[in-house]
């Protein structure tokens, strides 16, 4: 049985799960954006280089 009734500890438990989820989302978004940004940059510069040679 799924037990989502935490009684008097509700605030603490939801806060802990909420913060964990938030940190995971932030880490994931930051990592993916960082990676995508430099991939684009590297490919653009490569194309520039190829165009010039």
């Amino acid at each position: 049985m799924l037990d989502l009734d935490f009684g008097k500890y509700e605030g603490f438990i939801w806060a802990a799960y909420g913060i964990s989820a938030l940190v995971f989302v932030l880490l994931t978004v930051a990592s993916l954006r960082f990676s995508a940004h430099w991939k684009r940059q590297a490919e653009q510069l490569k194309a520039q280089e190829d165009a010039r040679s």
């Binding site: 037990d3 935490f6 603490f12 438990i13 802990a16 880490l27 990592s31 991939k39 510069l45 490569k46």
Partner: protein
């Protein structure tokens, strides 16, 4: 049979491997987390801790990962220092912000668990303090990295700092035996096998695996970004020269 670090030390092979390994780890993390959370939330309430035992399923994995990430950082730093390998340095650099994130999570969830259980947000015992120090080490590592402009010098200086910090990890792990405090002792790896009931142990281990898979996925993504950043840097300096 070729060893994993040797196989991945080739950037081309690493990029080909991480291209499918990163999403695979990410999917694995989601699956494991869903299973672990389902089992965790259907488990009965602990007779001592009541509902707060649910926080354990995210606190303990974060605490383990804070140390595991530093361990990875240390190994990558060692490889980068000994073999002067750029990919190892990229791995070390990429592990630091992730480790700092997990350490912050361990501290915050531990605090949210401690308040209802011990009646206080924070206890200055050795174990909590050591985790806080671990967090400071991550911050120092990232601060040193950003303060040095020359990238090869920054790589070596940071690797030395990471190895110096590695002596801190045993202190984190064994300090629980040096000081008796409000923090409960080592429960999972106690003598004579796990003391925890299987209803809690199974979801906990699943969550640890989920966190590890998530760390693996994010780590690979960040290393890929770092490799591209260096390629872009190299291309830029080539363009500037011609």
């Amino acid at each position: 049979m070729i060893s994993a670090p040797a196989f991945l030390s080739n950037p081309e092979r690493f990029m080909a491997f991480s291209r499918w390994a990163a999403p695979l780890f990410g999917g694995l993390a989601v699956l494991l987390a869903i299973t672990g959370l389902w089992l965790g939330f259907t488990a009965p309430e602990d007779y001592q801790q009541g509902d707060t035992v649910r926080i354990m399923f995210i606190h303990v994995p974060a605490a383990w990962l804070s140390m595991f990430a530093y361990f990875c950082l240390g190994i990558a730093s060692f490889l980068s220092l000994v073999f002067r390998h750029a990919l190892a340095d990229a791995a070390a650099k990429s592990a630091a912000p992730l480790g700092a994130g997990f350490t912050a999570l361990a501290l915050v969830t531990g605090s949210l668990w401690g308040r209802p259980m011990w009646g206080t947000w924070w206890v200055w015992d050795a174990r909590l303090t050591s985790v806080l120090v671990l967090f400071l080490f991550y911050l120092a590592y990232m601060a040193l990295r950003s303060a040095l402009d020359d990238e090869t010098k920054a790589a070596r200086a940071c690797a030395i700092l990471a190895l110096v910090g590695l002596v801190n990890l045993p202190v984190v792990h064994w300090s629980v035996n040096w000081w008796n405090s409000l923090h409960q002792g080592v429960t999972v790896f106690a003598k004579g096998g796990p003391k925890m009931a299987p209803v809690f142990l199974v979801p906990l281990l699943l969550m640890v695996l989920a966190y590890m898979a998530a760390f693996g996925a994010l780590w690979l993504v960040r290393i890929r970004g770092e490799v591209w950043r260096r390629r872009a840097d190299a291309a830029l300096s080539r363009l500037a020269r011609t």
